[in-house]
Symmetry: C2
Subunit: 132 residues, 2 copies
DNA sequence: TTGCAGATGTTATGTTATTACATCAATTGC
DNA sequence: GCAATTGATGTAATAACATAACATCTGCAA
């Protein structure tokens, strides 16, 4: 899937996420966009919905936050399952893909006749700098 | 770690989760326990906090819900990372452990010098019955 | 130029989780 | 016995996250 031209609100939200050092909550994004005319959470959530669909933004379920995909110019749907390591101290996020992990998980669900739609892998802990 | 004797509130919350067919939100648990004197969310959240610590309950991050561990009489901390398959139609949850997945994920984070604390793997989709 | 689809704006509300503070019960050390 | 401590509990208020419902606008195609 190729990413369509973003609308005004989608671009604003995406730019905020790209410039951010780490993941942001929807309400943090809202606050950053008040000067650009954003007034309500729905403006953010609607933009995020599309950006997630296009694969240019990820949602981090365990911290209710959103982050720009780490693979610029390349949508993430082609990478299989995405795993994240999230530093609980500094908020930094590392993104990673492992086909063997995908294979094991998908093999298991197939055995259960379970039909997977969306998979979340999130590892919370401390990054090298913060663990020191 | 062995599970200590549960307190009154912890037992009430755990019993509700054990008898449930699938995962429950904290507020659903609260409603089910109003007859037993529960009045406020904190009574539920505090009990859940301990039950999670003891490993007899899991939190499903992607659906903000809680489920009793599928391994009765046996705390889950000994199983390594737990993965869940969650049916988005009927709510049924399957729990599973795979050492190869653990190994791959932990190998990667070690390479990044990341110190993992808590890992979430959740696969949302449709179970066999619901996919038919 | 009308009708439609998609994007946007706005208000209100629903859902999930925590802070702050008071009280109670069991245990320990004196 | 009786303070002192610790962990559990009760309660009110509030913070944080997310969606419903409805109105409006804009570009485009029939």
């Amino acid at each position: 899937m190729t990413t369509p031209q973003l609308t005004k609100n989608q671009s604003l939200v995406f730019d905020v996420l790209e410039k951010a050092e780490g993941p942001l909550s929807a309400y943090t994004i809202l606050d950053k966009l008040r000067d650009h005319g954003f007034r309500a959470p729905l403006q953010v959530y609607r933009a995020l919905e599309k950006l997630l669909e296009y694969g240019v933004v990820h949602r981090l379920e365990s911290i209710n936050s959103f982050v720009a995909c780490a693979h610029p110019g390349d949508d993430c749907h082609s990478h299989g399952i995405v795993a994240f390591a999230i530093c609980e101290s500094c908020g930094q996020v590392m993104e990673f893909h492992d086909h063997e992990v995908d294979h094991r998980l998908m093999g298991w669900v197939r055995g259960q006749k379970f039909k997977p739609e969306k998979t979340t892998i999130e590892i919370r802990g401390l990054c090298e700098a913060c663990a020191a």
